[in-house]
Subunit: 349 residues, 3 copies
């Protein structure tokens, strides 16, 4: 599922090779079968390798089209017919190991074999009327549309596409990303770097290669020093017309709808999703895998720890309907005041 514009595959690998590279074992089936790429269970097609971490992925496992799946011994019996079951204690770890094997150079955004002496790759295509400032680095096969601007010292990695009329400020770095028309990317924004994904082991944290992309639709504004990580297997997506203020963090696989506003220093954790026209106040945190419904408004400094219905105003930590939060703040203030009066009375006795 890794986009070949950004990633070079070392595959295919046979099941026998996979057994050597991981601690997984095939109990029954053909060891010569080859897999050509990695995918999540529900998006895998034949020739893909997937993994199933536990019972909550049972439905996805039942319907998977993958050629082979890493599973725990407990789940092995639920692998559908025709899919090879690679048994192991920690399927996510085996999967991460194979991701390293398939894409060892995922982090590199320019050619290693021949360090470029020019800053603009000859394979980069630049549209009419576009201005490239001094000190810009454009990697291989970068495509920039018409009437765009790339600011001084910005670094655009291999395969990145930037639409017509999009302005990129100074010192921006972009890799593994497709960016739409008429966007504005402010100085120091970081788009497309590795997300924060690890398999925890007693020996430390084992890196999960991040093989997705960042998709930024048209008319998006990205503030100064914002960080938008690329997806792990799927993509991080920013919907049309959405605006990020400065120092916002967008985790891997997070998705925003259209015309959202995210105020300064707020963060969306990995796989968080906000629907169209959501407003997120300053310094808000949204937990991973949580969904915020269309048109919701989250007051500044809130912490969103579970999914919230659209069309309402929320506040506090954990975030709850704003009237409830205000009542709670009020009741505590009254009690503290009452307690104080009592103490003062006692002191005076």
């Amino acid at each position: 599922m890794a986009d070949p514009r950004f990633y070079d595959s070392k595959g295919p690998f046979s099941i026998a090779q996979i057994e050597q590279l991981t601690k997984a074992t095939l109990k029954a089936g053909d060891r010569e079968v080859q897999v050509w790429d990695l995918a999540p269970l529900d998006r895998a097609t034949p020739r893909h390798l997937a993994y199933c971490e536990g019972p909550r992925f049972g439905a996805a496992l039942r319907d998977t089209k993958a050629t082979a799946v890493f599973v725990t011994p407990q789940m092995a019996g639920r692998v559908p017919e025709g899919v090879l079951a690679l048994e192991c204690v920690k399927p996510s770890m085996a999967f991460a190991q194979m991701a390293h094997a398939f894409y060892p150079d995922a982090a590199l955004i320019w050619s290693v074999n021949q360090p470029p002496v020019q800053s603009i790759s000859p394979s980069a295509r630049i549209g009419e009327g576009t201005v490239i400032a001094p000190g810009v680095f454009l990697g291989e096969n970068v495509e920039i549309g018409r009437m765009a601007v790339i600011g001084p010292g910005s670094v655009i990695g291999r395969g990145v596409q930037i639409g017509n009329g999009t302005h990129v400020g100074a010192h921006v770095s972009i890799s593994h990303a497709l960016i739409g028309d008429n966007c504005s990317i402010h100085p120091g924004a970081r788009i497309g770097q590795d997300g924060f994904g690890y398999v925890n082991t007693p020996a430390g944290h084992f890196k999960i290669p991040q093989l997705g992309r960042v998709i930024i639709q048209d008319n998006v504004v990205v503030g100064a020093n914002v960080t938008i990580d690329r997806g792990a297997m799927s993509d991080t997506v920013v919907g049309e017309g959405t605006r990020f203020d400065n120092l916002v963090q967008i985790g891997h696989n997070a998705r925003t709808g259209r015309h959202c506003i995210i105020v300064s220093q707020a963060g969306l954790s990995g796989s968080a999703e906000i629907e169209d026209f959501v407003v997120i106040g300053g310094q808000v945190g949204v937990s991973g895998h949580v969904k915020v419904g269309k048109g919701a408004f989250i007051a500044g400094k809130s912490g969103v720890t579970r999914s919230l219905e659209g069309g309402k105003v929320y506040g506090g930590f954990p975030a709850r309907p704003v009237e409830q939060w205000r009542r709670e703040v009020g009741v505590v203030a009254r009690m503290a005041k009452a307690g104080k009066s009592k103490t003062e009375q006692t002191d005076n006795d």
Copy 2:
């Protein structure tokens, strides 16, 4: 009101042209009259175009010296004699449209017509004893004082002034800013980019051009990866001797007094104001249009949602006098403990 060192005006525009570029209509008066620039109601002088969004600007409307004003039909009767009333449903939107018309290239910080092949503009002036590191970009008419240092790869946009003895670190970007003497700007700081200002419409968020500046007085320290947006119509101002720790956000039109301290990851929203000797703890948020009095101390992680008197210590969210906040934290802890004992007793019954 836009500083010509930073902005090129496409004006003047006649009232007739303004009617074509916006949805506003002149009910009475001369359509051939021209306006030469934009300004807020209270700072406008003849030849300026202003706007009045609603009744709370009534006093400013009454006293304005503008040539023409965008107003709602409801407010049109209150436009003073001699001022042309341009009626429309959303004056802020019409004003934003004219700001785009006057200053279409506001975001550009180097010449578009002739992409520079040199990184240092021939019109830049550099004082004696000043060191310019490799990879620096200096735009047109940049002025840098004596004994200053500009770090590797930093980008200084058109018209920026930097005082004597000021040290700018690596990878800093500065535009639309006047910076005093003996300041220290740490790596990755972003100064002078567009603020976060939009007119909300059902079709999405319409950008308000940001035509102000950043003024940084003497002896200021700006931490690493700090972001300071330029003003919308007026300026963002940082007072003498003030120190910002890393990753601080300063919104457009915010103002700090002299000798303030703002600790890491705190943020001032747009038009927030803190007076002299204020201390703002780490991860504090200050809402927009709020004022914090001289010498106030705001404990870490607080949220300042309304103006606060000087000389006191505040904490919590919403920020309140620190003793009150502590009492509230205490009363909740005691109640939770009492509730727990009761539950345990019940469980034992």
Copy 3:
């Protein structure tokens, strides 16, 4: 104690010179004695100058090996025999002044006398198989190991060491730092700049020179736009295998153990310490001089204001055991609900 790879000393200074440069006075002893460097009381050796701010440093004062010590008149009687007592009202201020005198150029990371025209210093050493991208700046005596990568436009200051296999992304700036093997430093990270340390005076904030380093052990990941300040006198240390997500702030002299995880937008204040395998959630703040024990887990958005035992889960602000915090959130919600029912009842009466 300042590492000569990063700092050039202007010392030694005689006691007589120190009296001229500060407001301190030697009441008894030899004014011709020289000191060669600065150090904290407990790490000073002969030929060092130290300072004692108040009674809580009494034990360190008693055992110090320093040649001379700044002390208040109140503490002067407790200076051990053989150590010269330099009396003054504010020893920390006198010490800061002498730090400026010893190391006036602490912030500079390249040669001032001869601005380099090349971006790679001839004294830099680069290991086999290492790739240096376009636009990189390498200062004097930089040492980079084998099979490392330095991304486009990155700035590596004088004396910095980077280990084998370490990948540095685009636009990273590193100074005053020693970095281990197989680390991954993401775009826009700022490592080694000045920490945030001031002596407060009525005339403003007097800068304390920051003369330490950043030590990053092997296999560390530093996220995009992270800021890690160097130590004041000792070092800021990041333990092996620790991972920082994007936009994290690490204050001067902070220390993390091995295999810690610090999620996005969290911050460790100066001299905070976290032991091995600690997990710090997103947007958490940890106060200065606080210690978090081995394996502790701090929930997102918490504020750690005092030292916490290892092996437990904490939440809230101030951070407390997570069950206690949940009970408190619950009790407030119930009371607000009860209060609301009562109000509604009254309204209906």
